[in-house]
Symmetry: C2
Subunit: 345 residues, 2 copies
């Protein structure tokens, strides 16, 4: 398994700053999570049942009833390679799999037995042309790359026409719902992954959805078995998916937050900065130095190696924004003014 | 997938009795569930982390640290065949798999691609002798069969000696912890499945444990991926596994309840009746008739076909006990006195 989590705890130990004193911007999770409603005891005590309204709430939110609830999109990421490799129609001995890179590493991990080819965003057209299965994250995590909807539709057409599949992980798409391909779910050759972890801020609940034709959903369901999503998580998710007022408020708030984050980073001289509402991505040879300088100030960001880059999540309260802004300027002053300088001095 | 759940809803529709008016004895779940403590919001909002104390609490409760948390023992049941078939040392083209029958049907479903042989409890010694992998539920659901610990240990020795595996699903064993093989976990050739669904009454939480050597746990973890158990469920489970006072009280209460249920059934003339504290099993050609007669009185039991049998769970409150006892006598009077009579008259 890949390394995940525990970063805040390790940073606290490494920098000698108490756990409670950190501003954690290392995730792309909505800092204002959906407010958890009271959970009926029966949700804890009885096996979850399919007719509790979760699927209907999700169908209304995603714009398609061709969906399967899973225990976080991770569960689907793990199980999809086996299912799609079986379903793909190809005369070759094995399907040709291409993955956008850099991207969320769990996809490459899950497909590793299928010898996937990695492609850069600028080579996407060529990758689609030579593949049976194409997997991408949209908007991409961590680079923030977002393909035009028309291109995605064309790629889907190309792949479906030869019995192939386009897999789109839309974990960060909720603040811009019009960009989603979820309403097209059910079409042959298209799999869309959604999650309640990021936009709804319910990463601990482990709830996601696979939007795909019945053949994919049935095979996935057989592989994953019954009762994969806990009763309490089903209850909270149903409420969250139905709560249009909260969703509209969260969209506005996150779009404003994302724009503010881009401004704050830009005003500090960080460029180029990309990313959806929920996070921003700054590729730079100074990434490691800025990561450390911010950490010394109790602010945790997410550092990436290849390419060297920082990902910034959204601060929650005004005080957090102020703290971040001041720390960012102090940290940049400390590590030096020029991105052309080497990372360590 | 096998058919599960929804039985109460269907019975309510079929018998024209409102959902809330039923006494549901169709499961083997503790009717007095562990009281759910308040859940910290962070458990919903952040990805679950491994160092939250759940594993340590489970190690102390089960008597072994060779364990992996899973999203209910169902998740392990689904994934174990692939893992064990890979690990078994045999010179044959495929491992010989034997499953106790009748038993919890999900095991046979999960092993179906491996051509499992089914064996009756009385043929267990012979089945072990001719198998590489033996799967049994102990105490067995639904028949209540319970093998002596010494026999299980001998079977494990035999199987392990030739590179085979004994898989024991101990979902119903908690009220008699001395019978469990969990403390031996880590030994080659032994896999023990435990669940918080039955004894702790947390079936909706989807938490179970696989107790097994590292080779099994690592392969299972890779197959199932990270964050399989939700944060809220981890929080509740940790509390339940650490709460010795509640556990001791529940053991006493369930043992008394199980004994009372056996007495009530025996006094009504039902024989033979077997089963652990959490349920009783009555094989009879009259099973379907009694199931229907009880259902007409708003009491749901679980009907089995092969062999024809009823499984009774525990009533919760004194009023439920009284209602069950009266309904049982009335139902038996209605369907006729003699087990020798045909089921339908």
């Amino acid at each position: 398994m890949l390394e995940h989590g525990g970063r805040l705890r390790r940073a606290a130990a490494h920098y000698g700053i108490a756990l409670g004193d950190w501003l954690d911007l290392s995730t792309g999770i909505n800092p204002e999570a959906y407010p958890v409603p009271p959970i009926p005891l029966a949700a804890w005590q009885r096996l979850p049942e399919d007719d509790d309204g979760l699927e209907a709430a999700a169908a209304s939110y995603y714009g398609s009833a061709s969906l399967l609830p899973v225990a976080g999109s991770q569960a689907a990421i793990q199980a999809l390679p086996g299912v799609l490799a079986e379903l793909v129609s190809t005369h070759r001995p094995a399907p040709r799999v291409s993955l956008l890179a850099p991207s969320y590493a769990e996809h490459a991990q899950a497909w590793r037995a299928h010898g996937p080819a990695l492609f850069a965003a600028e080579d996407a057209d060529r990758a689609v042309a030579r593949s049976d299965i194409v997997v991408l994250v949209q908007p991409n995590n961590p680079t923030g790359v977002q393909f035009e909807r028309a291109r995605l539709l064309a790629w889907h057409q190309q792949l479906a026409a030869r019995g192939g599949w386009l897999v789109i992980d839309e974990a960060f798409i909720d603040p811009t719902p019009a960009a989603s391909l979820a309403p097209l779910a059910g079409a042959d050759g298209l799999v869309v992954l959604r999650s309640l972890g990021k936009f709804f801020g319910l990463a601990g609940a482990r709830v996601g959805f696979v939007l795909a034709p019945a053949a994919v959903r049935e095979r996935l369901a057989a592989k994953l078995g019954p009762w994969t999503v806990s009763g309490p998580a089903r209850h909270v998710s149903r409420a969250a998916l139905l709560d249009r007022a909260w969703q509209a408020h969260a969209c506005r708030k996150l779009q404003a937050g994302g724009a503010r984050l881009a401004r704050v980073l830009g005003a500090a001289g960080l460029a180029p900065v990309h990313g959806p509402a929920l996070f921003k991505w700054w590729p730079s040879t100074q990434a490691a130095a800025l990561h450390a300088a911010l950490a010394r100030r109790g602010i945790l960001t997410r550092l990436f190696d290849a390419p060297a880059a920082l990902r910034f999540g959204l601060p929650r309260e005004e005080a957090d924004w102020q703290r971040f802004q001041h720390a960012l300027h102090a940290a940049l002053a400390e590590i030096g003014p020029s991105p052309a300088l080497p990372v360590r001095r």
